[in-house]
Amino acid sequence: MLSRIAALNAEYAAAIDDDRLEEWPGFFREACLYKITSADNLRDGNEAGIVYADSRAMLADRVVALRRANVYERQTYRHIVGTPRLTGSASAETPFLVVRTMRDGRMDLFAAGRYRDRLHDENGLLRFAKRIVICDSSHFDTLVAIPL
């Protein structure tokens, strides 16, 4: 299971970092939860995230919005995803770092945190039923367009 989760994480990160965002919703079950929050909000019991999607279609809408509607400066992410830690038979936590490189060459450590995942195995195909992105910081520089 660990190696399958690690492989899923690698494919997930590559899809985002290679700007294949259209593939990103496919990593989730149709009924899912994807949320970006922070450790402080989790501790305080705050339910809201800066991104909150409870269906694969909502994730797809976000990708269409990023491509067609939203305005932001060209940028890329590099996800460095750590080793998953099993927290149950179908759940795991995995640390990550994201370096953001801007159009003008500026690079920042944009986010650090952990993925808290619930996985779903459908005929051998592993997907996220739930992916809570728990950032260590509640601060975000400028804007968050590309998903974490």
Binding site: A48, I50, A57, M58, D61, N70, F140, T142
Partner: protein, 410 residues
Amino acid sequence: MDQTSLHPSSTTRNGLTRVPFHVYQDPALLDHEQRDVFEGPVWNYLCLEADIPNPGDWRTTFVGRMPVVVARTESGTIAAFENRCLHRGSLICFDNAGHARDFTCVYHAWRYGLDGTLKSVAFRKGVNGKGGMPDSFRPEEHVTRKLRIATVSGLVFGTACDRTPDIETYLGPEVLAALRINASRPLTVIGRFTEVLPNNWKLYAENVRDTYHASLLHVFFATFRINRLSQGGGVSVSANGGCHVSTTLAPEQETDTAYDGMRSVDDGLRLADPSLLDAVDEHGDRVRQQIVSVFPSFAMQRTYNVLAIRQFVPRGVDRTDLNWIYLGYADDPPDLRRRRLKQLNLAGPAGFVSMEDGCIGNFVERGAAVAANASSLMEMGGAGTESQDTRATETAIRGFWKLWRSMMGM
């Protein structure tokens, strides 16, 4: 006037329709603004009453760059004071929030009451008869800087100035009414995030008052053919200019052509999951989008069922912390709370109709990099600061500058 003053021709001929770019760029203005704006005759948003419900509860916040503690005292009143120890200037409280019987500075254990009054000085009489403070030292002669408090329906505001008018006069009837509707039931915090803006705080203060840009920069609604500029609504500006409420009402008819020729692509795109915008008219007023601003650094929004506060804190001449406080009502039924969580995709640092505001101020900073003596231009809707029944206007931005100029003497 020296070179950092407003360009004479722009102040006299064009009045409030011109703002020279140096006012966003001059580091010296930061101290001037701290003294004459943030610590001047204004009401600064501090926190929610719900943040400090019980005696001993406290929260740290800011008045401009001044660190402030807000606390609920033993008698149940709210007190706020500068978060600076009278001894050596250390922060008295250095976390976001907590509960205490009193406050003790960690540096040398000077102790303060919940209202910020100095209570005791460690080793005042020395140790074993040696050292200690001189006999002439009187703790009561050392007074923490305290703020005067006003609350509006659970929102706590503070002022450091004796001349500040009462908050009802300051806000004006329209802004007051909008805030009272927003806070008509007990508020509860459901999320807190900070967006670090790479721009001067006034560029963001303008942005929240800029009803003209909303549908032009943020084309999410137009792209998915959700609403149109020709929906009803308008802008009310307070008499002092500094506060406003802008409202967009849900349309009575769904089709029109007010967006023809705009950047948005009108090719029949639709949301794959329209439950994002599955809203209820919880106040029975057809308000679909509303922004309320309170000079200098507060805005509150309603977007569908999203309820959020934005507090902007200057961190330097070209850096601003934008604190997002996502709200619900304490008695939200689960389905309404879920709507808020989903609709919050519209707001905040990753919001479909707000993420652009995170970068647009920096685009101005960079575009105007060597334009200190040139001016931005704001003539939409005329040259005044009166309320208007259209959002194709810059009246509320001119209102901001009217009050800012009067306080800065510029």
